[in-house]
């Protein structure tokens, strides 16, 4: 089926997630769609598969304009989407999951469906028992089940969102073989990924999105350097950072093994010293969030140890509250979900963050405290403003204002995501002030410029693999982009020896 998108625009509040995107994909094509986190890939695919409705723009299938207002509509038009986390029903039997989306009749025709399922599975050499339960399957097998289900429902366009995350190498090879076979049979395939090597290995062409816009397209042979530049933008000149004298050790991660839901990290070593800033780069879900929560005691390592302070206090097995007592602060990315309490005022937040003495709250004193902090951190809000009424930038300022003083280590997830330039500069100014007083900062960002500009050292995460700490001064956006996309990892070993 020929898929054409014309001027698709979708806004979420002030954010233009998709900005007048147009491109078309002929049948028998595997179209790669590249872009960093937040580039608008998933939004675009969700529009095509009926999860979102575009603000403007048209979808044309085989030249005919169609209106897709629900996922059921999409599959009726022959568009099926395989989500990053398979949207299946773990407590059900494979065959019941398979039948669920099928229309027709009160009673499912299970026997006929089993026959169809076995035939389809045999065609692609998948071995899934229709009577087993979905939750006993691996992620790769669940993808296979979804592909079979969508094909059975008559999909002629298959959208895959980051399908190679969390599956094994043989499963990936099988998936690619299946997709090539399907394309050869006339299927249109849209393959969304941030992994350059996957796109290069599989796709007949690639389109790159950045900040909601279609930046360009490319046919093979792919030029990795050009793709990276399209994904992350041109390099900005960096001002050289002052060389840091090595401070005392604040946190020592010793050969840490971590087990996430879909990601494993093995043998990570990192020594964080007072006053330095360490940036964690990588696509979302590559393991950096897992590592950061482990640094705060919010996730426990399965191997190795975390030690705090120069006296090497072993914190393995201790909870976040004990890390917090020793001067570790955590600033999560989801401000209203994980860091602030909607419904409580700024004053109430400041009371909670302070050392509480006595039984009753001294309202007058706490309001004075709130006023002081509000003016000190330049928060646009009143002491009695509820935190959810503040803008994102002011919420982030409030989070900084809530941090205790002094601190040994601040862990920040996406410190400036969604903030305007003014807030960004302000927030980093405040963070750097802390560094000057000896606090170490470890932060996650998907903004490469931010990583390079503010970090002293950088760790890159890719599918659970972690680079040794890299000196930010000698890194370029291009190099970092390649590492994030899983390229150039083999040359790291030799470099690390020199560092």
């Amino acid at each position: 089926m020929h898929v054409e998108l014309r001027g698709i625009t979708k806004c979420f509040g002030a954010l233009r997630a998709n900005d007048a995107i147009s491109f078309s994909v002929p049948p028998s094509t595997i179209q790669g769609i590249l872009g960093e986190n937040g580039a608008g890939k998933s939004t675009l695919m969700k529009i095509l598969s009926g999860f979102y409705f575009p603000d403007s723009g048209d979808i044309l299938l085989d030249g005919k304009k169609v209106k897709i207002s629900a996922p059921a509509d999409a599959i009726r038009h022959g568009i099926g989407m395989l989500h990053q986390d398979p949207l299946d029903f773990p407590p059900l039997k494979v065959i019941d999951d398979f039948i669920l989306g099928k229309k027709g009749g009160m009673l499912p025709k299970r026997r006929a469906a089993i026959k169809d399922f076995k035939e389809l599975a045999a065609r692609f050499d998948f071995s899934i028992d229709p009577d087993s339960y979905v939750d006993t399957l691996t992620v790769g097998e669940r993808q296979q089940l979804e592909i079979l289900r969508l094909l059975w429902l008559g999909a002629q366009v298959l959208i895959l969102d980051e399908p190679t995350t969390g599956i094994s190498l043989p499963q990936k090879e099988k998936l690619f073989a299946t997709l090539k076979k399907l394309a050869a049979e006339g299927m249109t395939i849209l393959f969304v990924s941030h992994k350059l090597e996957d796109v290069e290995a599989l796709c007949d062409r690639a389109a790159v999105l950045r900040q909601g816009k279609l930046i360009g397209t490319m046919d093979p042979p792919f030029d990795t350097k050009a793709l990276v530049e399209m994904m992350f933008g041109k390099e900005m000149p960096q001002e050289p950072k002052a060389q840091l004298s090595a401070g005392l050790t604040v946190l020592n991660a010793k050969h840490v093994d971590l087990d996430g839901i879909r990601i494993q990290i093995k043998g990570l070593d990192l020594e964080v010293r007072a006053g330095e800033v360490i940036g964690l780069a990588g696509m979302e879900g590559s393991g950096q969030t897992l590592f950061l929560s482990a640094c705060a005691g919010l996730a426990q390592p399965v191997g190795g140890a975390f030690c705090l302070d120069e006296e090497e206090k072993d914190m393995t097995g201790h909870t976040y509250l004990e890390y917090r007592k020793r001067g570790v602060a955590d600033l999560p990315a989801a401000r209203l979900e994980q860091a602030l309490i909607p419904g409580l005022s700024l004053t109430e937040h400041f009371i909670l963050s302070e050392e509480m003495r006595g039984l009753f709250i001294d309202r007058k004193k706490s309001e004075e405290l709130a006023k002081r902090r509000i003016s000190l951190y330049n928060i646009k809000g009143r002491p009695d403003s509820s935190v959810e009424s503040l803008s994102g930038g002011n919420q982030q300022r409030a989070l900084l204002a809530l941090m205790r003083d002094p601190l040994k280590l601040i862990l920040v997830e996406h410190p400036t995501r969604g903030l305007d330039i003014e807030s960004t500069i302000y927030i980093w100014g405040k963070l750097k002030e802390r560094c000057a007083r000896g606090t170490a900062i470890v932060f996650i960002s998907s903004d490469l410029d931010e990583i390079l500009k503010y970090s002293d050292r950088v760790l890159v995460f890719f599918a659970g693999k972690v680079t040794p700490p890299l000196d930010a001064n000698s890194l370029s956006v291009e190099r970092l982009g390649a590492l994030i996309g899983g390229k150039d990892w083999d040359t790291l070993e030799t470099e690390a020896a020199h560092a």
Binding site: L340, P342, G343, I361, L402
Partner: protein, 350 residues
């Protein structure tokens, strides 16, 4: 639409009108004169000093249960197991009374010990529900409901087994205590016990002060509104949940103790009288604000007592009070939902 005090009050008045409307329809369907019914309920609640004192007798355990529930609601828990906690409070109180009734101690001392035992019983039962939630991953609604059944079964077993009346066990409960061990009754009244009213008022004031004025109350609010963020801010989450269960258990146990020492003077099968469930309704109706819990609980108690007149005079079932209370809560909550939706809408399209 703007979010102001007046729109909030307007919606609540609307909810009351709707609830009366639905109840009126129910009355018509039952072939009854609605206005006569309302009149007799009103008279039955405030018509004489005697019925007023009955309302107060009913108000005390209801307000105690509501006070406890305000604490668990603040921390975001649905302590539906409060019925069982009241029952266990009653059982522990009865137990202490039975142990001490022949001791010859000062009756006041015995009553104090018995009430303390009731608080202990309620607390233990509440902590059990809390432990099931914290350590067993059992939702407090299911755990509480299950424990309610266990509490009822235990109660019936005691009444028909170890604590049965000499000779024959009876649904009317255990043998009443000696008059000297009754909670002192006010002069000129048949049932009113001033001490319990003082307990209830002190209780709700303490809860109000705790939630609105103390660090502990603020922490409870924080955990209730967002446990994840509260934890990041350094508040031990599950410990606060357990504590709020324990506090609610104290109040539930007190309610059970009052039922035994001041109302029935013995243990009866339905000792909790549904005050736990009614307390849930009151707490929801007041939007979890302690400041207006006392008058609303008084109103519900008045409805309960007033509707006793219905079967006597109009030959109607007394469950009408339940209908009125239920629809009232339903419409107030519905009104809050509709209001929130309208507010959201007017925010998107200014």
């Amino acid at each position: 639409m703007r979010d102001t005090r007046s729109t909030r009050i307007l919606f609540q008045i609307g909810a009351i009108i709707f609830a009366l409307f639905i109840t009126t329809i129910v009355l018509f369907a039952a072939n009854a004169q609605p206005f006569a019914a309302y009149k007799y309920i009103a008279l039955g609640a405030v018509g004489s000093w005697d019925v007023i004192s009955n309302v107060l007798v009913s108000w005390v355990p209801l307000l105690l249960a509501t006070s406890g529930l305000l604490v668990t609601f603040t921390v975001g828990l649905w302590n539906i197991g409060i019925e069982g906690q009241i029952t266990l409070g009653a059982i522990f109180t009865t137990w202490a009374m039975r142990l001490l009734e022949t001791s010859g101690w000062n009756p006041t001392l015995i009553l104090v010990i018995a009430m303390a035992a009731g608080m202990l019983g309620g607390t233990l039962w509440a902590l059990l529900a809390g432990a099931l939630k914290t350590f067993g991953g059992v939702n407090e609604i299911f755990g509480g409901l299950g424990l309610n059944f266990v509490a009822t079964a235990l109660n019936i077993w005691l009444i028909f087994g170890p604590w049965k009346r000499p000779g024959v066990a009876s649904m009317s409960g255990t043998l009443p205590f000696d008059r000297s061990l009754w909670m002192p009754i006010a002069a000129g009244s048949s049932r009113l016990t001033p001490a319990t009213i003082v307990i209830a008022i002190v209780g709700i004031l303490a809860v109000y002060a705790m939630i609105e004025g103390t660090y502990f109350g603020l922490k409870l609010k924080a955990v209730g509104k967002n446990p994840k963020s509260a934890y990041i801010l350094g508040i031990p989450t599950w410990q606060h949940m357990m504590l709020s269960f324990a506090i609610c258990g104290v109040f539930a146990g007190l309610a059970g103790g009052v039922q035994v020492t001041a109302v029935y003077h013995r243990l009866i099968p339905s000792i909790s009288s549904g005050y736990g469930y009614l307390g849930l309704m009151v707490a929801m109706l007041v939007g979890y604000r302690a400041s207006i819990a006392a008058p609303v609980a008084l109103f519900f108690a008045a409805l309960n007592v007033g509707s006793i007149q219905l079967p006597i005079i109009l030959k109607l079932d007394s469950s009408l009070a339940g209908v009125l209370q239920g629809t009232l809560v339903l419409f107030v909550i519905l009104g809050q939902g509709v209001r929130a939706k309208l507010l959201k809408k007017s925010k998107v399209t200014p």
